[in-house]
Amino acid sequence: MSETTYVKAVNAALAAAMRDDQRVFVMGEDVAEGGPYTATAGLAEEFGRERVRNTPISEGAICGVAIGAAQSGLRPVLEIMFIDFITLALDQLVNQAAKAHSMSGGQLSVPLVLRTQGGAGQRGGAQHSQSLEAWLTHVPGLKVVMPSNAADAAGLLASAIADPNPVVFVENKALYFKREELDEHPPAVPIGHAATRRSGGDVTIVAMSRMVGEALAAAALLASEGVEAEVIDPRTLVPLDLETIVRSVERTGRLVVAHEAVAFGGFGAEIAAEVGTAAFDSLDAPIERVGAPFAPIPLSPPLEDAYLPGAAEIHAAALATLGRLPAR
């Protein structure tokens, strides 16, 4: 084990994949310079600028180029610098990449990884902070992955690159520089398997990406109040490991779903609906959802802090499922 960070784990996983497989190459805005968060730092020096390709600020075209290259036998890892900019690439991602396999009757496949990052809390304002993953989960043909820690970032990225389908790999900028312990050669993490981060029998908390840490903090506080929460990190939104979530709810009878994205129409709504159908008889309380308010992300620090959901909201939601109010 050695000390690393989430962003270093992404960087090391990219380098490992490029060493293992000549078909893997990286492209995106400023990737040969390392990008704004150093995710691709040093790759151009090791692999050259043919395999680590800086691109113009043309999200639509570069996404299409990556798809065409994938259809023609390469394994591109495309970086869209901020998930906010994915709007410009959505035609290619939604109309081409996601549908190529089905629309061609299985002739084409698109082994593309689209790395991007979202998340607020950095005073980035309304166009550099969003969590837009729910849009992508609505598109058959895409896989959507949201690692919450360095080990999963490394392990899931290896699996995403090996996958024959387009995988959107959503990182969170607020996690990038947290120090974590990690194996020198972290194992691949299969896509589609949730992780139980903490066991408990009173309430299940399903938390995504940055909210996993917040959920664990809420669980620690709940434990001091005599409530044992189980914290599940789905890690992959599509395909979703619903079974792990349902099994937990069958034991606890209570569910909180937490993500940083706007709550209304967020992926938590899908989890709530699925659990409501699959485990209706086990539920002892209405499912609680934690997410951001229905508003663009503000710049002003006190406003952004108020906007961003965290451990306090998860704690309150868990108590609500138990019919209790948080102590003031």
Partner: protein
């Protein structure tokens, strides 16, 4: 080219009988471009087309009967009935995609060209699009990128002067597509797209250079869309071309006249090509009608590659 012409005329009839499904866009009148370009390509040269792509698919080598079955939504279609008229793919013959979103195919072709270069192959990517695509963001982003990376790709613009229902003059102040790419230094030429020999000659030159690693190229073919934007389009926005004028402009008849003058092939052979095409198209219709519709179980099975 007779195979394309006869196929598409038959498709127009089948559309009115409700035997082919979805939006059908015919290229009748513009077959010369598909014929002159695709007949020079290898199976490993990736080609992309768009919503008006029957001709490109057939000229690239897709079997007529499987194209017809695809238009009829049958399981023996090129794409097992999942694509339809606007999404013909035949990877065996290098037809790597057809997009229904105008201009969306252009960056894909750049990607295939990049793959060829990184794999050390001399394959050349080709993409067909209309003048309507030139105003799309994808076109402009792609031309910049293709020039920046000097990709071995040939952009083939079929400029029929109409973007859906409106004339080019209502879409852009730039009349010639070759002028749009001029500032990027793209090697470019505008030809009479109904002059098959002229298209052949320029494309051959571009292809040879691209095989040698040069690129990108833009070939603008001025052509004519004899039909409406789609089958069923009442085309109230323009007057029909006079029959005598069309006799002069029809790319197939022009090639036949040229061939006779040059002694390449005579009237008899031209007639034989036409009647062979009719027989092949009728056989394709019979094949497609006999093919079953796909099983519903395939619906979810084809979402992800395994």
């Amino acid at each position: 080219m007779w195979r394309i012409r006869v196929f598409e005329e038959r498709v127009g009839v089948l559309k009115r009988a409700d035997e082919v499904y979805g939006l059908i866009h015919l290229s009748i009148g513009g077959e010369g471009v598909a014929g002159a370009v695709c007949s020079q390509l290898r199976d490993d040269d990736p080609a992309y087309t768009g919503h008006r792509g029957h001709g490109h698919a057939i000229a690239k080598g897709a079997p007529l009967q499987r194209v017809m079955a695809e238009l009829m939504g049958r399981s023996d279609g090129l794409c097992r009935g999942f694509g339809g008229s606007m999404h013909l793919v035949d990877s065996e013959h290098g037809l790597m995609g057809a997009t229904g979103v105008v201009g969306g195919n252009i960056p894909l072709a750049l990607g295939s060209a990049l793959a060829a270069r990184l794999r050390g192959s001399d394959a050349v990517a080709v993409v067909f699009f209309g003048d309507g695509a030139v105003q799309a963001g994808h076109f402009n982003e792609s031309v910049n990128l293709a020039a920046l990376w000097a990709l071995p790709v040939i952009l083939v613009c079929e400029n029929n002067g109409m973007a859906e229902f409106t004339a080019r003059a209502e879409h852009s102040v730039i009349e010639r597509v070759s002028d749009v790419v001029a500032p990027y230094g793209v090697t470019r030429e505008t030809v009479d797209g109904n002059d098959v020999a002229a298209v052949w000659e320029v494309f051959a030159r571009f292809l040879a250079a691209a095989r040698g690693g040069a690129g990108p190229f833009l070939l603008e073919c001025l052509t004519y869309r004899l039909r409406g934007h789609y089958e069923g389009d009442p085309t109230q926005y323009r007057e029909a071309i006079a029959a005598e004028e069309w006799q002069q402009r029809d790319p197939i008849l022009r090639l036949a006249r040229l061939a006779a003058a040059q002694g390449w092939f005579g009237e008899e052979q031209a007639q034989a090509a036409q009647s062979d095409a009719r027989a092949e198209v009728e056989a394709a219709v019979a094949f497609a009608r006999a093919s079953p519709f796909p099983e519903p179980a395939l619906l979810e099975a084809l979402v992800y590659a395994q």
